[in-house]
Structures are given as C-alpha cells and as structure tokens.
Symmetry: D4
Subunit: 251 residues, 8 copies
C-alpha cells in the first residue's frame, strides 16, 4: 500500500464510502508491506530509484528471467550479479535492453538509465585478477546512478602506480578498494585520502591466503582510519554501500 | 621541497650558482614529505580539522601526556582512546580542558569544540555490555564535529525495542550498529533503512563467540545490502568512518 | 532374547530341562540386543513407528534399494535422504510406493502413512537457496507423523515478511528455522515466540561464510533464549528432533 | 497505539478534528511496541510465568540489585546467572527470598515458587568438572517450574555408570547432557533414549579441546538422531530450552 | 653395506688384501646406508620383513609399476595404498601375484605371504562409510604378518552392537578404531578394554565435521586413557602402528 | 552382581525361594556394574594393578586427599597429576608414602611399588622446556610398573644429540617423544627405530605455535610410519599408552 | 625518465631551449616512474637484469603471450609460472626461444641467458610429490642468473639420505628447502648448515595437513635459527629470494 | 671417534689386540658427535664466532646465569633474549660485561665485541608498539657483528614517513621489516628495494588481528617478490637470519 493509496483509503472512509473496520483492518491485518516501517521500505525504493538485486549464482536462466520480468514491469532498473556467460546469453536474448557486462559477471536491464549524481565513486583494484570483483562494484554503482572512475592494477608492490593516480583518487567522494593476497591496498590508500574507503578482499591468492581470509583480516586490522570492509569477493556490496554514501552528497 | 623552492633551485642552477648534480640529487633524494601527496596529507589535516588520535592502551600516562601536549600546541582537538581510570585521572589533572568519558574509556581535550554539522549519526547497540564500544564510537564522532544520537540496548531478541525507534534511525545520515554474540542487529537494521550502516562486532559473548569472531562473520555475511564492517571492538574506527561519511553531506 | 523367551528359559531350568550353566551363559554372553536397554531400543522403534533412516549420499542405488527392501519387509516407513535425481529415479522404479521429493533431495516409501499428530511443526527458511535443507526437515517431520507448515523466504533483511506470518508461527508447537549467510533468523524468531526453536545453519553464502560456519556460530551465540542448533545443512536432524518434541505434546 | 486508540484516531479524523496527514503519520511512524507482535511479547511473559533472566557476569552487585528489584516488583521469579560468591553474598543480603546456588553460580529470588509440572527433565553430566554447567541448567529448569533429576559423573569412559541409570533416563521428558573433552556423552545417550537430548559442550579440557570447541563439534556431528546443541558452557540456555519442551507435555 | 659385508671387509684388511685407507674410507665416506644408524635401518627391514610402502595417489600406474618391480626384485612384500580401480587394473595386469583389495583401495603383491603372528589385531569401525579406511588398516596389518579381526558398523548410536562384540574385542592385542562424524567410538571402546587403542578419525561427515577435524579433536581429547591417534583417514598408519605393537607380543 | 551371586539367585529360584519375576528383574534392571562387560572392567583393574588416576588441576587439596584415601584403602598405587607445589605439600603432609615429583607436577603414593617389567620405555624430549610433560609421562609409566629411560634435550636443531643416543633408543620397547615448537622429533626418531613411537606435542612456543597446535599437526602428518599422537601436553596419556604397549611384551 | 634524460632536460633548460615551467612539470606531474623512488625501481630492473614475472594461472594463453611479447621487446628474460601443458604448448609455438619446464609448470623465454654467478643455490625437497614446487624454485633461480643444485627426495623419515648429501649442502650460499606433510626438513637442515635456509611448505598431504598449513606452521616454529618462510607452494618466491641473497655474495 | 682413533682401532684389530666384534660395534654404535657432520657443527660455531642463544622466558635467573657462565668460559658472546627487568638486574649484577637492552628485552655479555662487517642491516618497524620486537632483531644482529640502522615508526598509514627514508633503506644489504595489525609494511617496502626483506609479524593489534595471525598471513601473501617471513614476534630469528645473509657479502 503506497502513501497515495493510504490517503485514498482515508478519504473514502471520511466520505462514508467504506466502514471504519475496513480502514483499521487495512492497517492492522495488512502484510508487513502495509505497516509503517514497510511503507518506509517502499518509500526507500522510490527515493533511491533502485529495486532488489538478483543474485544469479545457483539460479536457472528461466528463474532469473521471471524475476527480472516482474521487476521490469514496475519500470525499474534490473541488476543481475554472478551470471555466467550462458545465463547472460539467454537473458540478453529475452530482454531488449539487457547488457552483459562480461568482466563484471553482471547483466543490467535499463530502459532509461538513472541520471548520474554529481561527484564520482572511484573503484580501484590491486591486480588484474581482482578485476571481476572490481567490475562488479563498478557496474553496481553505475546502475544506481553514480559516475564511476576505474583505477585498476595499482597494487602496493609497485607503489608508484597508485601515487601517480592520487589526484584523481583524492577527488572521489568515496573509494572502493579491491585487493586479494595481502590486501594492503586499502590501508595505504586510506592513509593518503580523506574520503571513506570501502575495502573488498578477494579470494585471489593461494596457500596461506585461505581463500581471501588473509586479505580480509588485513583490511579489518587496517592501521589507517576510515576503512570499512565487506565480505570476500563482495563487489556488489561495496558498490551498493558506496552508492548509499555518494547519495548523501546530493541530499 | 615546495614548488617555490624547486623553482628557485632551477634558477640557481641556470645562474650557475649550483652544479647540475645538486639539482638532480635534490629531485632524486627528496623526502616524501616534500612531494605532492605528502603536502596533500598536511592539507587533509587542516581541512578535516582533526589530528592524529592517541591509542592509550599500553602507553604510560606520561607518554600520553607528552603526545597530547604536542597536539594541543597546534590548538587542535585531542582524542585519547582505551584509557583506564587511573590514566584518565592523571591526564585530567594535567590538562585543564580534559574530559573523561568513563563509559567510552576515552579522554577528550578541546579548548573550543568544533561546530556541529547538520544532520546526525546514530550510534546503536544491541546490549548493555556493548556500551563501551558504542560510546567510543559516539565520543569519536562527537569530537569530530558530528551530532550523535545514542540508541542503546535494542538487540534483536526483543525486536520491538528497535522497531520503536525506527523513525529516529531512519532520519540519521549514517548508523553505527554495535553488537556482540550473534551480531544480527546490523542486518536487521540495514533491511529497514536506506542509509549506510557501519557494523561493529564486539567481543561480548563466550564459548563459540570466539572473542567476537562469530559476530564479525555474521556481519560480513549480512544478507542486507549496504552493511560495511570494522574490526572487533573498534568503536573508534566506526565513529571515524561515520564522520567521514557525514562530512560528505555538508560538502 | 525377549522377556517371554527369558521367562521360558527360567521355567525350563526350574523344570530341570536345562542346566544352570546354560541359563547363566544366556544372560552373560547375551548380545546387547538381548539386554534391557536394547529391548528398550526395539520398543522405541515400535512406539515411535519409525525405523532407521538411509543416508543416500555415497551409496549406490543398489545398496539403497537393498536396505530399503529390508526395512519395508517389516512394513515400515522408509526415508532416504540426500539422493540425487538419478538415484531417485532408480529407487522409484523399484518401489511402488516410492515418492521422490525433489526439492528435499529425499525419497519416501510409505505403504500406509502414519496418522498425523495434533498440532504442527513450522519449518521456516530465510532465503530460497535454503529451500533444500528446509524441505529435508519438512519431509522428515512429515513422514514421522507430523503436520508441517512451510514458511519460506522470510529472511531478516525484509523483516516484514516474517512479521506478517507471526500468527501462524506462534501457533506451532516447535519451529525449525533454516538460514545461511549471517544466520540471524532463529534469533529474531525466538525473540517473538514461546516455543522451542531448532536452528539449522546452511552452507549458503560465500567468502567469510566459511561454508556455513558463520551461520552456525551466530546461531550458537543467539541472544534469544530457547534456540538449539544442529549441524550445517542438517535438515534431517532438525526435522527428527522437532518430531521428538512434537511427540511430547500428544503423550 | 492500541486498536482502541487507532479507532479513536480515525473517528477524530472523520470528525474533522485532525488532518489527514496526522493519521497517515501515526500509522507510518507507529512504534513497534504498539503493534500486535509486541503485545504478544508481553502476553508471552504472562503465559510462561517467567521474566527476563539476569546475566551476572560483568555487572556490579548494585546493577544486578536494581534490575532484580524491578523484576520483583512485578511479583515474578528472578534468576541471576554467572554470579561469583561476592556478588551472591551482597544480593542475598539485599533480598529476603534470595537463595545462592553456589555450585550453579546462580542466585534465585522466589517469593512463591512456581508449581512443578508433571514429568521431569534429566540433567546429566560426564565428569565432576562439568558440574557447574550442569547445575546452571538444573537451577534454570527448576525455577521455571520443572522437576529436575540430576545424574552426574556418568562419562563414556566408564559406560556402566550411564547404563546403570538408563531406567531413570528413559523416563525423562527431555535430557540435558553436559560434557567437555571429547563430548561423546550426548551421542551415546541419544542412541539409547527416544526423547529429545539437548547437548551442552563445556570448556573442560586442555590443548586440543580448544576451550570446548572439540566437544561442540563432536555434538554437532552426533551420529545419533535427535541431538540439538547450545553454546559452550551454556547451561542456562539448555535448561531454558528443556523447559520450553517440557512445557509442551502439559499443554 | 650389511654386517656380513662389513665383517668381510675387516677380514680382508686383516688378511692384508686391502689397505687401511680403504677400510676407513668405506666407513667414513660411505653413503648413509652404510653408516651405523643406516645399517640399523637395513637390519630393521630384515627383522620386520617389510619394505617401504607405495602411496599410490598422484602417481601414474607406470611409476607405481616401476617402484613395485624394484621392491619385488628383493623378494619382498609390496603394499600400494590409495589406488583407484584403473590403477589397480593396470598393476594387476603387470604383476602375477598382485591382488586388488577394492574396498581398501589397496593392491598387494606377495609371492609368499609372511607367516602370521600369534594373537590378533582388531579393526573396528563406526559406520559403513568408514569402511575404506578400516579396510586400509586391515590390509596393511595383514600383509605385515598379523591376523586381523574385522568388526564393522558398531557406532555408538547403537551401543548394543559394540557391546555384543566385547568378548572378541577384549581378546585382541591391539585395537584400531575407525570413526568419522563425532568420533566417539575409540573413547567408549577404550573404557572397556585394557589393550592399546589406536584411533583413526575419518573425513566422513559434512558441515561442522570440517573434513574430519571434529572426529580428530574428539579422539585427541578422549577421556579414556590409552587412546593414541593418527591423521584423518590414515588407515595405513594405524595398521602399521598396530603391527609394530603386535610385534612386541611375540618378541 | 557377580557370577556367584547370579548362580545363587538361580538356585534360590529353583528351590522356590524367590518368584520368577524377581529373577527376571534382577537380570533386566541390573546396573551395568553387574553385567559382563563391567565385571571385565573390574578384572582389568586387578590384572593391570592400576586404579583410576587423579587429575589434580582444579581440585582442592582436600578433594584430592579424600579420593586418594579411598583409592589407598584398596591398597593400590595412587597417581595424582597436575598438582602445584602448594597442593603437593598438603598431600605429602597427609600421606606417609607420598612422593612429590616436582618436575613432573605429580604426586605418587605407593606403599609397595609394583615390580618392574622386563624391557624399558624411553621417554625423550626435544628441549628443556618440554621437561614437565616428559617427566609426567615418565612418572606415569614408572608407577605402572615399567622401567623408564629418560633422554632429554635432543631436539632436531642439533641432530647429533639424538643420533648419539640411538643405541639406547633402539633398545626400547616403545618410545614416548615429547616436543613443542615444530614438533619434528617424533618424525625423525620414527625413521630410525622399529618400535612404536608415541608423540606428545607440547604448548612450548609462541605466536604461530598456537599453543601447541603447530606441533600437534606436524606429528599427525608425520612422514615416518608408526607414529601415533596424544593431546597437547598430555604426558600422562602417553605414559599410560606406552605402559599398555609395554605390557604386551611380557604377556 | 632515466637519470641521463633528467640531466639532458636540465641542460636544455640551462641552454634556454625549454622554459622553467617545462622542467618543473616534468618533475612534478611526472608519473611515478619518473619520481626518485621509481627511478630507483627502473635502476633495479637494470641492475638485477630481471623484469616482472608472469603468473600464468587464470590467464589465457593470449593474455600471457601479449605480456611476454612486451617484456621481450626490451630484450629481457621472461619467466611464466603456473602454466598448464596446453598454455605451455601455445606459448612455445609463438616464441622461438621459449622452453617449457614441465616439472616446474614454467615457461622461460631467453634470447641470451644471463651469465651465472659464482657459488650456487641448493634446492632440496623432502618427497617426490614436492618436486613441482622445488622445480619452480630451481627454474626461477636459474633464469635469474644462479647456478642451482637440486637435491630431491631427502625427507627426514630416512635421515641418512640427507646426511649423505651434507657436504654439497654445506657448500651452498643459500638453501631452498621444500617440504609438505610435517615440514620438518628445513629445521633439521638448518641445524646442520650455517647458511640461510628458505623454507617452502607444500600442500602435499591430506587430513590434518590442512592444505599445507601444518607444514607452514612447523616451519614458522622452527627450533633451528636462520629459517625464513614463504607461502605454501610458493617455489617462485623462494627461488626469487634465494637469488636476491645469492646476489649479495658477488656484490 | 676421530679419524685418528678409527685408524688406531683398525691397527689394534690387525695386531690381534681386539676382536672383530669390537671393531664392528665401534662403527655401528658410533655416536653422531663423532661423525663428519657433527664435527662440521663444531666448525660452524668457530667459523661464525657465535654460540647458542639463551631464551630467557620461563627460565630462572639462576638457570640463565649458569648457562651464560658456561658459554662465557669459552670466551664467546652471550645473548639472552626475552628477559624481564628483574631477571636482567640479577644477571647484570653477576656479569661484569653484561648490558641490559631494556627496549629489546635482551641482555648481552661481551668481553670483546665482534668486529663489524662492512655494509649494514636495516631494521624498520611500522609503529612504536612494534619497537620491542624490532629492538630484539637489532640487538641480535648487532652482537653477531653487523652494523644496524634503525628506522622506526614508518607504518603505511603515513606513507611519506617511509618514502622519506628510502635512500637509507636502499643502501642496506638486507632489511628486517617489523609490523603488526595488517602487516603491510614489508610488501610496500619490498616493492621499492632490491635487497632481501625479512618480515616479522607482531602480536600488536586486537580483535581480528588474532594475536598476530592477520599480519603473519598478510606477509606470507605478499604480492612483492623477495619477502620471507619468520614467526610472530620473532625479532631474534629475523636478526639472526639477516646476519646470516649479511655474512655472505663479506665471504
């Protein structure tokens, strides 16, 4: 029940068209979507112009297609993450506006992209192997209405590569820093900029990298203030949080 | 070496006052403090109006006092975290403007507090045992120039306590959510608000809580989008990151 | 050796038909199956109307078939868990009453289903990916003679979905709560109902979910009283324990 | 906001006393405490005749005293767990009906104990070192209105001790089985009884017991069906869940 | 250099057939196989009548064949562990006396089996899934000249199965106890017999069994004295150690 | 119920002195202590001449004294492990024959020591810090009637120290090898002897030794056949198992 | 910008050919490669005669080919690690001087091999399964201009094999010691030589080897001084570090 | 047994003074100390001019004193690590040349310091809390005859501090890099220098630093080539290995 619908309900009640019990029941017995905090939830979707995201892994192309179709009915942006190329091909065949972001393992469906906010989100990564995670963050942030600057392959083993891009990095509203192995990039970066840094550990590495745990622990123990962390390989989560933060600038 | 100094060096060289080797060495050997990005670092301190923070644990009151005195010389806010009551007493004796925030295990020294930004940061915690960490976040955010609303003891075992405060929580620019044990609070919260949620796991619990690892893992695996995480018990880090985010609103 | 047989043995001894040594040996050398507590074991199977369950993983269809045939000889319910579709097809071909519960990865063989107990067990899960584990719990509880209500996809990220079903959930005798990722569902649920909640962590998630360890730890550290936990993905165990509890109601 | 208040609000609106916006806001912003499920929460406390439990560890005697006093105002049972002898002495001095259960590290305050339910809960433990945890479970179950039978020191290394008590154990409605080290007791027990077994791992052991993790893992992997598990040393949680289950018998 | 060869060398020296330097060099420059402790090593092989064992996993059938051929040249027993059926087929084709123990994943090649020692080793396992590991232990012990009694599927969930076999188990010189999941079998067994129990955890289980770590930890924390433990799934190691112990009986 | 008692019962029944029901009940309800396998347990104690051992840690001197007194009543050896010097002093004051083995943290009480078996157990350790654990193993083995040879401080960092003692080590019936840090001693040793090696990891070390886990894992992964392992710091368990093995020699 | 280029720039400035701004910009705006520490980086490549190494895993043959081609343009050695046989075949087809080191899973491309330094690096491994990692170390060290002596299959279970090669091992400038399972080789070795030992744990093993963690921990806890450790299976890293050390000899 | 002694033995045998068996036994039973590789061990101590080091933790001042006295008898350098101030005071009272390095928690006793080698070892650390470990490395390297340059408090959060010291760092023969928390310093450093970097993780940090495990893992996963790692807090080991490497320069 939208605010408009609720207002109509009240007017109908005042106009004597419906009994009081019906109004009460609408508010009381209503599924959560009709309760205060759930309406807020709907408000949020309207305000943020962004619906639920589809996690493609483990879903059939058919299942993805059905959910995407339902989301699209409401004229909204659709983001599908963790799709393989076969899934992507089938989805792109089905949806006219579908775009396969192969490097990001994502498909987006946008009839009319959201207008871009002022300012931008920088998505950086340490090595070329971290690229899929970084791209997932970038595609997520982009479809949510943010300008994104990619700065890839600037790992700390060749510090000059990062230092050479400091001017750009210092201009970002928020930085998503993606790294595997020892995960030092966010720490070094956060020591050099004053904006929030969202660190994304990746599962890149072997042996004692423990599938990304090494990078995760390093990021959580960052000696530089202002670093927050998401799950291993969670590029989507980082892009989403970055967008939430970037939203605040233009509020 | 500033740009002006570099220009002078070149003129001296052209004027034959100094040999070529000296110019080359100056650029090659130049300490980082003289390079662009290091100057930026100084700019950042000025721009953010906030200096280095003193981690009190493991330092003597005397050591803390000396560092604080040096920071205060520059007329800046001083924040000292993880101080015990004995340390706090000695520092408060020494500094006129020192305030001991006992619950937060912090001491602040402010001749003239920073003006508060518009909007506020909500600091919430699940149980009363999480309070010291939540207070550390709150004190950190406050001294950095943010208005802070505390919403304590709203753990998920009594969901209504949190729901009762949703209106306030939805008005915050950013939420710091502190919880130990199963660490579910940030997930539940992030499902209900559209603002960034910074999750702080605490070491509250026993047995399989593994000193906070259980809560940390839960938060990293949050099914709600937009949750980022800091180290166990790191109230300071969360408060700092929240302030960085809140800064963006008024940029 | 049943009680009747033991009585006969004693009478034969008194009648001088057998020597004392034979009686003594019968009691001393008797296999456990003949001892008191083992007879109890047999009694238990009769009383509970439920025999051993076949764990299908790692067994051939032929092996499963033989065990199932032997169990069926005694006219009992047969439950086979963790079967893949190929195994299921072969078993269903062999047994007339076999039913393949594909979503639960189970096959059941019941000539005559057990009568259902009064009251019901609620099986809830957080996300659609948790469905196979939840279905395993539901099928297990059902074949053991319980009515089961399924309430799926009510994860804490959209709290209203769970709240909308509270009336039903509060009417259950016992709740099986299945969740992966941060595993917060049982905690939130147990805070809202007065009945036992059996939590089942699933291996759904990636990175720091550590194959379900994150959800497992969260559930063990639940701040809500009355939550007990079974192994990761152990839908069968939860359904079985729930049935044991539900049995008590009608005792 | 109660149903009556909501009805009044609507009438006021129809009567033109309040604007439509106020009605809408009231429903949107309504605190959870006013919603159905929160009232249910209050009902639950009444129905179960048992209020919140005080976790004494880390609280001052004064804090405990204040919370206990408030609980007692409502004429309810008070259970305080994890109290040391000094805390206990102070509380017992303050409350007339306070009883210190030293072995359980608990204090109970009951003006009028709850009537005991029919049937009983068996609390068993493997070794004498597990006794404090077992006693915590027993005291918890007892104050919640259950008869409790203690069967201590029946670890699997001397199997006959457990077998000698099978008759009693098989008569219990539910069994709480407490064990440290290899934690095998619940598995062996659950193979011999048909009632729910709640396993409590303890931190008793050294080296590879990892503070109880070894016992916890063993219990989670029990080959006997019907075992559910609580956190390490969580005697309270087990006693509470056992009481919830025992409640069902008399429903 | 065997003792006989060394004696001959000395006699040749005394007889003036070879110079002193040659004798010295033989003892000094000799490869390790010729040094005191290495001769002991050779002595050991002779005394124990058992050579190196071939770990088949990761080796090609060709590699295995070559090593086996070289071992057979010395007329010795050959044991190859962890072979798959394809490897086994190829080896059996190549060696006349090769026997494929499919359940044990082993191949043995014995022209003339060792005579069996008096007394026997009992190899027990908890469940049918533990069988391959138990068989590996049994085959290893058997080829090393021991009589082996297999007692399979006597897990603690059905205690009577184990108790029914106590007479046999108590007659063994040493017991190899194989179990996965909660790994309780060795503890229960060791409480009932006076002979050494070698515990073998298996990787049977899922979720919190952590690939056998749960069983391993349980066994290391056994409350019954006299349990020693080998690596997860290491049936060979247990069979070997059991044989070393059984050797002592007939020394 | 002993065999004699059971025979009497049967005769009384035949003589008509007692009803059949009484005989049946006696066999059915008989506590485990009266069943075959429990009598075996008693037999075992007699045969091995060694009673239960007292684990002193966490017990009061008074508690230890009472248990020891009861054990001594039966004229048996008493072994108390993990006692501190204060406990030891009090026990020695109370028992005339008590001996405090300070290095082993044990007290023994023997009116008349057991006669020593032929052959000996070697107890070796890598460093002087491992000595308490090694001494615990040695004292345990000694009081159980074994000759013990101590070979201390022969860690692998100075390999010659171990090699210099090979003659002695090769003469032992069984070797207990105690080591912390990287725990390599048992592997190296087992490569050089043909007798069983029981490895005891110790908690000696820091950082990545993880309280002995590093040594434990190393020993479990020993590339030398015939190594079995006990819990970290479990000198008692190793000494006990070694005695069980050494027993076999003289059977 | 090399030192020579920088000197030329300054001369051009003095000669009035270019304005001061151009010089300043060259030093200020220059990418990191032009800054002091980055020039050092370039110097390093020149001095060490070795460029970046290509990690083949996860890259397509095409990607590898392009990077290799670019590196070869500068006339440098090319080392590609972790290539499978298919990748290797394609690369060898494309590059004339490419050599596939199958055992090492590496391809090298050298128009003109570097001259070998005096002295040599010993690469030793414990078992034949450790060979791929040892070969990776050996190939890495060799292409970087070092003489390499391979000493394979000298694990501590047969100590004489290692002792027989001590003379060679003691002549090495630095030793790379590769071992899986219990990882004892580097400790034993470092106790016998005076040169730096670089330990490489491998993932060889099963069960409690935890994918190489057991060996890694053992090596980090080595009781022999002078052992440093690299990541599990990181033969490349060990060969590289060994080359850096061997470089020092000839400086 | 020296070569001379062995020759004599043979002559005595030829002269008929001793039986053949005696000669054989002498060679078979020869202790390792008499074999080539053990003599090498003694040579090593002479050549390196450095004896065994005393690990003070857990030893009494008296024990330390006795070992130190014995070492000093041979006129050698004495290094005692991990001593507290009380131990240090007592040792300094006893030994004339003893020096207490309080920050390093070490005592050294040198009648005549070793001459310093050419070149130097740089010991760097990230934060002031890492200082004790860094000092331990520095004191160890210094007493072994190396010049040491300390560069402290140059953590990556303020990158300019490290960059400002690059000239010095690039001149070192080998660098010991000490860091806790996220342990990023060695990676960043190793990307900028061409010399071996020995990384020392410290236990500085809290929560997810897991007592130094986070830093350890980060260092093992360093993306910069040439980093080798020692145990957490093992300053001594790093200093020792650095000295071994620096030795090579002057060979």
């Amino acid at each position: 029940m939208t605010t408009a619908e609720a207002a109509q309900l009240l007017e109908d009640f005042r106009a004597g068209k419906i009994p009081r019990e019906k109004v009460l029941r609408a508010f009381q017995a209503a599924p959560a979507a009709d309760l205060g905090f759930a309406q807020v939830d709907t408000h949020r979707a309207l305000r943020k112009n962004f619906p639920e995201v589809i996690f493609g892994a483990g879903k059939t192309s058919d299942q993805i297609g059905k959910i995407a179709a339902k989301l699209q009915e409401h004229g909204q942006q659709v983001l599908i993450t963790r799709v393989n190329s076969e899934q992507a091909k089938l989805i792109c065949k089905k949806f006219k506006h579908a775009v396969h972001h192969a490097a990001a393992r994502c498909v987006t469906i946008e009839k009319k992209p959201l207008p871009k906010r002022a300012g931008f989100i920088a998505v950086v990564c340490a090595g070329t192997s971290d690229l899929p995670v970084a791209e997932e963050a970038a595609v997520t942030a982009a479809i949510m209405g943010n300008r994104v600057e990619r700065v890839f392959d600037i790992g700390v083993a060749g510090l000059h590569r990062m230092l050479a891009r400091m001017e750009l990095l210092q201009s970002a509203n928020v930085i998503v820093a993606v790294a595997g192995m020892e995960g030092a990039l966010p720490s070094v970066l956060a020591g050099l900029v004053s904006k929030p840094v969202i660190a994304v550990p990746t599962s890149i590495g072997y042996g004692a990298s423990l599938g990304g745990i090494a990078a995760l622990l390093a990021m959580l123990n960052s000696c530089a203030s202002g670093v927050t962390v998401v799950n291993i390989d969670n590029g989507f989560g980082a892009g989403y949080a970055a967008s939430q933060i970037n939203c605040l600038v233009t509020t």
